[in-house]
């Protein structure tokens, strides 16, 4: 008699997809209207896009982490960071391999695909900065995913582009459903005497997705989708959280644009590394951190949400 299961191991529950996901919460970022919170996250992402300065990018990462922890979605931010990590490493590694600029040669005569290649410190640093920028942007979108109610956001867009927004809603809704389908089909494959290959499982999952899509289309039809009405404009008074979050978003965006226009955060990597780290950069970092904390500041904000 064979014996299985003697091994003691950790049980796995229903496997979740390790990506940031929205969960209703009671933080100011959750309580504020979707547009305001989305603007807050996008302002942080915009800052990362505008700057290569490591100080500023570090401040953006810190601001995202600060806001995420304060909003109770630190785990989601960590997931986003883990997703970004391979991308960051990839960018950081590829840049010195494909760009030969820079005065400080670290490795000379390196050959790739028959081409001689010098690896320079400047190219390494430029790659690292590009990777840091990618990481900051991904983390900002992780905060966005974790704190912005997709239904409310899509409702907003349905007034502009009804069908596109509804398609987005369906895609959002079906991703976890299809992930569960794939897991189930994988388990069923393990129950076959001759388990199928990954390609067969992937094809079955895709076919199942098409079946699901037909079912969802039928469900939409019987809900009056083809009647084609658009949601009426909803007049919702601005709450304290709306104002704080929108204010913080505006402060971040204005500061980022203004400082960039003034030439702050300039970085030169070739031929030699020159990073600006003066008072303007420090001031911008301070603005970012203060603005990120602004939605959570104040007694009223905390109590107001707790009682909502």
């Amino acid at each position: 008699m064979s014996r299985g299961g003697a091994t003691v191991g950790s049980a796995r529950g229903p496997a979740g997809v390790p990506i940031p996901a929205y969960r209703p919460g009671s933080s100011p970022l959750h309580a504020a209207r979707a547009g305001a919170t989305a603007a807050f996250c996008l302002a942080l992402a915009l800052t990362a896009m505008l700057y290569s300065d490591p100080l500023v990018l570090g401040a953006v990462v810190a601001a995202v982490a600060l806001a995420g922890v304060a909003a109770g979605v630190g785990a989601e931010i960590r997931r986003a960071a883990l997703i970004a990590l391979p991308l960051v490493v990839l960018v950081a590694v590829i840049n010195p391999l494909v760009y030969r600029g820079g005065d400080t040669v670290l490795v000379r005569g390196f050959e790739i695909l028959g081409r001689p290649l010098d690896i320079t410190l400047e190219a390494l640093v430029a790659g690292a900065l590009a990777g840091l920028r990618v990481g900051a942007i991904v983390m900002a979108f992780g905060l966005f995913t974790a704190c912005v109610d997709p239904d409310e956001l899509l409702r907003m867009f349905r007034r502009v582009s009804y069908r596109s927004a509804l398609t987005g809603a369906l895609a959002t809704r079906l991703v976890p459903v299809l992930a569960r389908d794939a897991l189930r089909i994988g388990d069923a494959g393990r129950c076959r005497p001759r388990p199928p290959g990954r390609l067969a499982v992937a094809r079955a999952t895709l076919a199942g997705a098409l079946d699901r899509a037909v079912d969802v289309a039928a469900a939409l039809e019987v809900r009056g989708y083809s009647a084609g009405g658009r949601p009426a404009r909803r007049h919702r008074p601005w709450s304290r959280h709306d104002l704080r979050v929108a204010g913080a978003a505006a402060a971040i965006a204005v500061a980022a644009v203004a400082f960039a226009a003034a030439g702050a955060g300039a970085v030169e990597t070739y031929p030699r590394i020159e990073v600006a780290a003066g008072p303007p950069e420090l001031a911008l970092c301070a603005v970012l951190l203060v603005a990120a904390a602004l939605p959570f500041a104040g007694r009223a904000a905390r109590l107001g949400v707790a009682r909502a």
């Binding site: 008699m1 064979s2 014996r3 299985g4 299961g5 091994t7 003691v8 191991g9 950790s10 049980a11 796995r12 529950g13 929205y22 969960r23 209703p24 109610d149 997709p150 239904d151 409310e152 349905r158 809603a169 369906l170 809704r173 976890p176 459903v177 389908d181 189930r184 388990d187 069923a188 494959g189 129950c191 076959r192 005497p193 199928p196 499982v201 094809r203 079955a204 076919a207 199942g208 699901r212 079912d215 969802v216 289309a217 039928a218 469900a219 939409l220 039809e221 019987v222 809900r223 009056g224 989708y225 083809s226 009647a227 084609g228 009405g229 658009r230 949601p231 009426a232 404009r233 909803r234």
Partner: protein, 576 residues
């Protein structure tokens, strides 16, 4: 003056674009506003197609050709699509997973009204009201992916009702739910029907579940109306046609020669009392369900011998059959069924625990063994650990403590048969031999996704068995969901053949009638441990929830579980 019918069909017929025969033919039907109509019929009889016609999906979404006339709230379904009919007709499908569109419950409920361009205030009020009416107000701020199947189905019904349609059509809405959630759903529909006056048209295989709530039954055969009658008259028709659509208590009455046929367990008990076969109101209360057969009641069927009742009709103690066990009793508490020394178990879990890292323990030291050739039903509420135990037996999961022993290979058919079907053609799934075993010889070219639910179930079982074997054990997880009686009977026969070949067959099921039909032993799980273990006549005859309709009608008398056994029990009493 009588209200105009909410549904009116005159010679309505329909053929799917890819169909060789009409799915509906010559339908003449009127449904009154505020009526509760049950659509009955075997798989492929046209129930779903008729419901899809009522909401306009047929012919507008599915294509094909329609003839005759079908009007819903005065709108012809041939001229008006589902978008226009949606104002008058709410629709709920079988699978709650694919009819919920939005990520949040509140947004989901608001969607239909937003499609109609309703004002935000009206939308908000309607959402609140429908949530309160259906008892799901606490779910409003939940994400839909966090809801259970029962909750999701309630949300789907609320979404279909939020704009207060005059007609609600439901296509097997309980087939994906456990019995408790299914029963709750039917009574919720009855309440909506009575309090709001919403006309209900529902297709269900579990006739016994819906019949007490319905005030009319329309039975379809081959796409045509074969019977259109009040529930009691429908039962008479169903019994005359062989009983495939009749409820177990109605078949029991018919076999025992009793009339009128009961439409509910309560009516059956009243009928038995009227015939002097159960104590009347002054004859003492019926003993409470204890898990064991009830004690003697003079002059009633209660004091009859239980020992000869076996699911397969054999004489002798169920405990002797095929297994190594003396008959324990669920009524003796939570002790596992004590086992005699016998053959090596085909599969066993020894003190098996399964504890999720960030959640509760699903199994808590389960002791379970199945002997070769034994047929076991694994029962228990949702979350009791049935599926998890089967996964441990198969080896899809490892116990965190304890061990699993297998005398050989274990086959497992998971809940969703579609997950096993991954090829373009049925023959690629199981080969010609497997197709023949599944009763699908000659259908090898068909796409498995085009097969009916019952056919897919049979094919998936052959895929899981893989033409291999001999199997030490074959485990089936909820194989009868959405299955009609004919297919269940075929599955019982297949299980018998597997057991006869020496495999222990372990089936997780909520279906007490099915369990009584195939099993020689019932293991009842609760909170991750076995809380009952014994022959069906002992575990199911005296249960409250875990009991068959016949056993409930007879109060557990004679250990009778199925219609034939109940009729035999009644017959002996009548003779005596």
């Amino acid at each position: 003056m009588r209200d105009a019918p909410i549904v009116s069909a005159r010679g309505f017929g329909y053929r799917y674009a890819t169909g060789s025969a009409p799915a509906l033919a010559g339908i003449d039907l009127d449904l009154a506003p505020g009526s509760f109509t049950l659509l009955a019929g075997e798989s492929g009889s046209g129930k779903s197609t008729l419901l899809r016609a009522l909401c306009g999906l047929v012919p507008h979404f599915h294509g094909g050709a329609a003839e005759g006339e079908l009007e819903v709230a005065g709108l012809s379904v041939r001229d008006h699509g589902p978008g226009e009919l949606a104002a008058a007709c709410g629709t709920v499908f079988q699978d709650p997973e694919t009819q919920v569109v939005m990520g949040g419950v509140r947004a989901e409920l608001a969607l239909a009204l937003e499609h109609q361009g309703a004002a935000p205030g009206a939308v908000a009020r309607a959402v609140e009201e429908v949530a309160l009416a259906l008892g799901i107000a606490q779910l409003l701020d939940r994400r839909t992916e966090t809801l259970s199947g029962g909750e999701l189905q309630r949300v789907a019904i609320a979404a279909a009702l939020v704009h207060r349609p005059a007609l609600l059509v439901l296509d097997e809405p309980t087939s994906q739910l456990d019995p408790v959630a299914g029963d709750e759903l039917i009574w919720l529909l009855r309440r909506l029907n009575e309090e709001w006056g919403t006309a209900i048209a529902i297709a269900e295989h579990r006739i016994d579940r819906c019949l007490p709530a319905a005030d009319r039954v329309v039975a379809l055969e081959g796409g045509a109306v074969a019977c259109d009658a009040a529930p009691a008259d429908f039962l008479g028709w169903a019994v005359d046609r062989g009983g495939a659509l009749a409820t177990p208590v109605a078949r029991m009455f018919a076999l025992a020669g009793l009339r009128p046929l009961p439409t509910s367990v309560k009516a059956a008990r009243d009928g038995l009392r009227a015939a002097g076969l159960l104590p009347g109101a002054d004859g003492g209360d019926l003993p409470a369900a204890t898990g064991a057969p009830a004690g003697p009641v003079a002059g009633s069927v209660r004091d009859m011998d239980v020992s000869h009742h076996r699911p397969d009709g054999d004489a002798g103690s169920a405990g002797d059959a095929g297994s190594a066990g003396d008959a324990g009793s669920a009524g003796r508490g939570a002790r596992p069924w004590r086992r005699r020394r016998g053959p090596e178990p085909a599969v066993a879990a020894r003190g098996a625990w399964l504890e999720i890292a960030d959640g509760p323990a699903i199994l808590r030291g389960v002791e379970f063994a199945a002997a070769p050739g034994e047929r076991i039903a694994l029962m228990g509420r949702n979350g009791a650990g049935k599926s998890t135990l089967l996964r441990l037996l198969k080896g899809l999961a490892e116990p965190t403590r304890g061990r699993v022993e297998r005398a050989g290979e274990v086959a497992l058919l998971l809940q969703n048969p579609g997950d096993f079907l991954i090829h373009e053609h049925a023959v690629q799934e199981a080969g010609e031999e497997g197709l023949a075993a599944a009763g699908l010889a000659g259908r090898g070219a068909a796409n498995p996704r085009d097969l009916s639910g019952g056919e897919r179930q049979r094919l998936a079982l052959e895929v899981a068995l893989g033409g291999g074997g001999p199997w030490a054990a074959v485990c089936l997880d909820e194989p009868t969901r959405g299955m009609d009686r004919a297919h269940k009977d075929a599955l019982v026969a297949r299980i018998g053949a597997l057991a006869a070949a020496g495999a222990a067959v372990v089936v997780a099921t909520h279906d007490t009638e099915f369990a009584a039909a195939f099993a020689e032993r019932i293991v009842l799980l609760g909170d991750g441990v076995a809380i009952g273990d014994g022959p069906p006549a002992e575990v199911l005859a005296g249960g409250w929830h875990f009991s068959t309709e016949v056993a409930r009608a007879l109060g557990g008398a004679g250990g009778a579980l199925l219609a034939e056994q109940g009729a035999e029990t009644i017959g002996r009493e009548l003779v005596r």
